[in-house]
Symmetry: C2
Subunit: 593 residues, 2 copies
């Protein structure tokens, strides 16, 4: 088995190889028998090659070929010949040739797979695909994404290396310093009762590397969060994690843009054209209802508070009284939207708490609907002008609290764009800047930092930290593409005293602060350079490149939303001996499914 | 702080920059005051630049410079000027210039560090260095190793990419399938009582990727073993992990040699000259007493059984009677070895169980010592000839069991080479081949696979699996350099039936086999290509490149031999809430130190 060598893979042979004797190895993708001649599509990761077994060439070989089943692994030797003109397959690199087999070796037989490998259209249940992940990868789509992921990682590494960044590997057996999500814990055997935690990100390590003087760091880092998973999350994921010293936003953001340009170019050949737009957080919320605006299409939200204040529409009036707001969205050439669809959209915004979805159609005579009677004609004209509504357009309104208005109109806007095919091709990037440094957690009755307490406030806002915390902007920046946040970063606090003020604001007790971050507060005192950084979600980035919405499509061996690996059957039982060595007990409860 | 930009780093300025105005940022490495003029060595990762503060330039700045202490982080603007001829430092790139400061900003003050950063010769206690790792890195040596590690990783990735290998990331939350070491476990919150395990290596994942048809895989993979650590081990470490299908040893080993050539060239500029030597396991043990021979020097072991059989030396006779052996080692020009040293060597071999260390000196009159009386003169001549002993040489003998003879003479040989400065420069590689597939574990009374049960036996030895297991050779290969194993790999079993036979031999119960490897045995049935692979110990490789014997010198944030991170203080306590969510209890025992 180990002496035969393939001369080519299954995706390369073409007319220039005619009359050459070749050795191919791969999987039996399809078999067809035509009047005593057996045709095999031989498959490997690189492509398909048609192989012909003729009885007159070698009856024994031909008979063996007759025993071939789907997914057998074989080696064949043979000669490259031209296909008959009518058999040419222009969709394949190898579509002009076939290999006439002289010799066949069966390397490995195969049981019938639980689902077809060769039927590309077949819609296989995802649980089955995950259990037999190795077979699903053979079907091609996942393999293609893994190639893309490989290329993206390598492009990022080479770009960052070319700019003087060093990849430094940081520990995975680290310390529990919860960053807003739950840690995965690892019991220590050597120090029973103590635990490591898997890192939610290398945040503190990379800042320590800056304190260590490493100047420019990166890492494609595994990160872990024990969260109840949403569809687009995994318990382990990867970040392209970057940090640098002695820089500033005006130098750093263009550098990151170049990185993105390089990754898109090297991975999918897509040209991008920086500089990317920038948009303050407030503007994004005001205009798109979200800090992750999809800019591949228009339909901005318009605030109508001052206009509709002059109407007699009780719903709008009430919303304003309740300190809410009214925003509208204008759908161009929306004649095709039926009442039924409008009802669906009403349901959609309802799911985000909107009490209703008002609408008006723009006709040659002006805005018209069953609520226009509450509006002066001149007011309607002003609304139409503000909304830039033209005849045939439809204007939707939501009146509620600011948060509900934004959330529901954001979702409505994106749904409309999908339904009306308004989404342009390509990639639209935008930097969202000037995030608020702090959020108020109503349930916990305290401030929270987003995303983490190491983000520097805007220099000019520092005096407001104690007096008006919620108005303090952070020196942070998220990179958003096509409505997805693909990266986020900030300038970091590099003064111990300022870091302490932030921790105080978070109501961390001195003890807790010491236990969780003592080593870091200590480190900050020995000469910390100004530093900043950013992390890309690698999985999210590859999803964009591969144009899939399923994070499991870009990971070789992903986990389900219940954090299970269906192929490995992990997590699993372990032996009593293993637990005894760790000195831990498991609570005895009936196991959940 | 974030508006000032450095124009150069501290390792670049030279005569070509004379008269340029520059901005530098970095750490105060040393300060010297000379007659009112203050000199600062400013440091960053790239080097040192001398900065001069003159009172006549700006008295306020000069006063501020007077407040600078070690490790303050500062930014300076100034002009590059030539140093006085007698002040030129030829050891520094920047040694011909200095920067006359016009402006000084203190970016960050620093407490006095717990050990000096600038005193290179200072021997700091390793525990203190680990606690303040970020300061230790600033001292330069570790930083240099981390740069080397970065370069080695990137060179490996680019080489493997150029040969069609894809980097595929495999799970870290995996399944407990102990591979001879203890697993680190991670309790599952979603499925209480179940555990993930951190992978000891991606072995099964990479084989599954071959079954998935990925053809050529690599990964720089984090691996975990919960072992009682030896000096050169870490609980987490990295492997350059490689697997490929449809290849064979004669193609694969040269490819790996090219990889090593590329890494050494790109990382330290060292040229290597493949092909590397190959040596069967048996020959390595016979000639060097070890399967990791250091070939930078000679001193092979010589078996003397048949010769000394003819002597009357009772010690040798007894060893032969006990089915042991006698081997000798000849030390060239060993006049300088004193009796005292020989006594030390006797102690050394004693530590490995040798009952004694016999020796003879070669004089112009032949071999001479207090035991030569037991040997015929002609026999002494034959021994001298076999040992290739020349006048002035010293021959050592150990007589004991084969294992003790090999171990003790291996260590003696290496110690002698160190003591006598026989170790040549550079790197001597050798492939060790034809390892035994199985070892007999006397304690457990069963066979064990080394390194893992997926290694293929030599094809021609397969019939011996049940009849004479210990004589079965494996299709495996270790790459040894300068006495260290830096990589190991093998052809893998790709037939389910053969894999089952090996598991049977290991006395795995059907249930255990199913629980641990069921998914893999299942996968083997769906068409498995012949495949093979190898893993390099990245840490070990970088140790060789950096020429250090301490694995902690090549890892940014290493752990101690008690698996503790002294900087983080990990592992650590976690909250009751965290354990409650995982439904686990810790056994209440007084904590160990």
């Amino acid at each position: 088995m180990y002496t035969l060598m393939r001369t080519h893979n299954c995706g390369t042979l073409c007319k220039e190889h005619l009359q050459q004797t070749v050795t191919l190895m791969g999987w039996v993708h399809r078999r067809r028998d035509h009047g005593g001649v057996i045709f095999i599509d031989l498959r490997d990761r690189f492509g398909l090659t048609q192989v012909v077994f003729r009885p007159e060439c070698d009856p024994h070989m031909h008979q063996l070929a007759g025993s071939l089943r789907q997914e057998f692994v074989i080696a064949i030797q043979g000669m490259v010949i031209a296909r008959d003109a009518q058999m040419i397959n222009t969709k394949l690199v190898t579509g002009e040739i076939e290999v006439e087999a002289h010799h066949l070796t069966i390397l490995s037989k195969a049981k019938t797979p639980p689902f077809s490998i060769c039927d590309e259209a077949l819609n296989v249940n995802e649980e089955l695909r995950l259990k037999y992940r190795y077979l699903d990868i053979r079907r091609g789509e996942i393999a293609k994404n893994l190639v893309m992921r490989h290329k993206a990682m390598l492009a990022a590494r080479n770009f960052l290396n070319s700019r003087g960044f060093l990849e430094v590997t940081t520990p995975i057996l680290a310390k529990s310093t919860p960053e807003g999500a739950r840690d995965y814990l690892v019991p220590s055997r050597v120090t029973p009762g103590s635990f490591y935690a898997l890192p939610q990100s290398p945040q503190l390590f990379k800042q320590l590397l800056m304190i260590a003087g490493m100047d420019r760091y990166f890492q494609i880092a595994p990160c872990f969060r024990d969260e109840d998973l949403r569809a687009d999350r995994q318990p382990e994921f990867h970040q392209i994690d970057i940090e640098l010293s002695f820089s500033n936003q005006e130098t750093f953001l263009p550098l990151i843009e170049e990185l993105v340009v390089s990754v898109f170019k090297e991975t999918i050949g897509q040209e991008l054209f920086p500089p990317f737009r920038r948009m303050p957080y407030k503007e994004a919320l005001e205009t798109y209802g979200t800090d992750k605006p999809d800019l591949r299409f228009g339909m901005p939200l318009q605030r109508l508070d001052s206009l509709v204040q002059r109407s007699e529409f009780a719903v709008f009036q009430q919303a304003l009284k309740d300190k809410g707001c009214i925003k509208g969205i204008c759908v161009k050439a929306a004649e095709q939207l039926s009442r039924k669809q409008i009802e669906n959209y009403t349901d959609l915004v309802g799911r985000f708490g909107a009490p209703g979805l008002a609408w008006m159609r723009m006709t040659p005579e002006g805005l018209s609907s069953n609520i226009t009677k509450f509006f002066d004609p001149s007011l309607l004209t002003e609304i139409a002008t503000t909304m830039q509504a033209e005849s045939g357009d439809l204007v939707f309104f939501v009146a509620a609290s600011e948060e509900i208005v934004n959330q529901s109109l954001d979702h409505l806007r994106r749904q409309l764009a999908k339904d009306l095919n308004l989404i342009g091709p390509g990639y639209e990037f935008v930097w969202i800047t000037e995030f608020p440094l702090l959020l108020w957690d109503d349930q916990m009755q305290r401030y929270e930092c987003s995303p983490h307490p190491f983000t520097a406030p805007y220099h000019e806002d520092i005096p407001l930290i104690e007096t008006d915390p919620l108005s303090v902007r952070s020196a942070s920046y998220d990179l958003v593409c096509n409505g997805y946040e693909i990266g986020g970063g900030s300038c970091r606090i590099f003064e111990r005293e300022l870091q302490q003020r932030i921790f105080n604001l978070l109501k961390l007790s001195t003890e807790e602060m010491q236990h969780r971050f003592g080593f870091f507060l200590e480190a900050l005192q020995y000469g910390t350079p100004p530093h900043m950084g950013l992390a890309f979600g690698l999985d999210r980035l590859v999803m964009l490149l591969a144009q899939t919405d399923n994070i499991r499509d870009v990971i070789a061996f992903p986990k389900t939303q219940r954090a299970a690996d269906l192929m490995l059957e992990a997590p699993s039982d372990v032996t009593h001996e293993q637990l005894r060595e760790l000195k831990i007990y498991v609570e005895q409860t009936p196991k959940g499914g």
